[in-house]
Symmetry: C2
Subunit: 299 residues, 2 copies
Amino acid sequence: MSYAAWIAVDWGNSNLRLWAMGPDGPIAERKAPQGTLALPGPEAYEPALLALAGDLIAPDRKTMVLICGAVGALGGWVEAPYRQLPCVPLGAGEFTSPEVKDPRLDLRILPGLNQARPPAILRGEETQAAGFLVSEPDFDGILCLPGTHTKWMHISAGEVVSFLSFMTGELFRFLADASVLRFTTARAGFDEAAFLDAVSDAISRPERMASGLFPLRAEAVLAGLDPVVARSRLMGLLLGAELAAARMQWLGRDVVVIGGAEMAAAYATALEAQGVAVRRFDGDKAALMGLIEAHRLMA
Amino acid sequence: MSYAAWIAVDWGNSNLRLWAMGPDGPIAERKAPQGTLALPGPEAYEPALLALAGDLIAPDRKTMVLICGAVGALGGWVEAPYRQLPCVPLGAGEFTSPEVKDPRLDLRILPGLNQARPPAILRGEETQAAGFLVSEPDFDGILCLPGTHTKWMHISAGEVVSFLSFMTGELFRFLADASVLRFTTARAGFDEAAFLDAVSDAISRPERMASGLFPLRAEAVLAGLDPVVARSRLMGLLLGAELAAARMQWLGRDVVVIGGAEMAAAYATALEAQGVAVRRFDGDKAALMGLIEAHRLMA
């Protein structure tokens, strides 16, 4: 096996995902559930990185490890600065280096973006946006990036103009897997009709996000509500309330949903039902293309 | 110390609270954080009860232990039935007994209430409602019972006519103590102005419950938002969305908030700001009076 020329890392709230880069592109791709929310403190990051990628790093020289994502947030590895909107998604060669013990590591954490009004910050999505813009430099519209904290970014003339953030992913995971609804919600599965009914309900009456939760348990206990229907309706209530709040972002706009997981498909389905001509773009591909672009800007 | 003639127990999602009853009222009162959400399974309930109350139980005879609350729900100790609305809050002498190892225990779990449309179930609040009605038998109005799962009960002619349930308490605890907002939210403290602003905002635009969460973190990172203000605004967003959904319950009605904790005070403050002439009634007192009434009905 050959060592990485450099390593591209997308380290978010929920996952650590990396690519060992060779001269012609990725030579290895790895993923672990050690997202920032799963790590107890700054001292846990270097061991987590080395456990996943140590064998890809040459023993006798420095290897650049270029990282985007929540790893650079308050409560993460080290706090990296934010660049202020409006601006292009990636700065030229800006980064922050945490102290590391392993002398082989040339660690570079990319800055995030911030916006003053309404107060908003993001990390990682700027890199995905940059990756998407490599393939479509003239894009003018909205990037919807579902995740632990979903972002809606308005892109125009190559710049990030504004964005909104929602905790929908984190809320869904708590409600489905840890709250009292865990007894009545399937771990997987998707009922599109139940989902879209709940989306439509919550878009027109966003207070249903509050009033619609406990009835999922009650209907399960009283009438045997199907756990997959409960899961889909729960997801629909949360996404519907988000779509109601983000209406000005998607109404009549060119919307691209960037992501690969179940949530991205759900967002696309919900937006299509509202008459939006949604396009999708793979989230991992966007992150990798963005990190390659960031690496080019380091030169 | 004398032994209990019988034991009154309010065993909810978050707390186990009990009173050892003598001939003239309580002779001891105890509380532990072993609510149903903290217990791993049915086998954990008898040891938790004996750890808190074992020394109050006479060695040489059966002692009646009368229990209300989530302990009788699916996922609790044993599933006790539900009585169907509309009905008086307590049935005459109905109970369910889980199997126990300790021969001194005569365990009686009270039934809950259910409503077919919208699907709704409750346990424990029926006993608090009964306790309140002992002191005010002709009450016609709304009982608001804040807790892990807040209930709004419509009472008329001594009967529970209908109710709504919200997960606001459980959501607040997750968001403030376990979500990404934990880094920016104080563990205690209350800023009434920040709270009421958020309540008012979410009542008029309930989608703010979705869009207002992540900005609490962003404003903390970017502008040093005070952690007590963040906590109060978070509580206000959740309560405001609930009040929007429960508007038909409280608008122009006689509302009594039953509870003792911080959340009950917050509900009363929020309702008063909406022009509701709220009264308050102590939650522990309501539960104890209700359990005494249930004991009387066992005779």
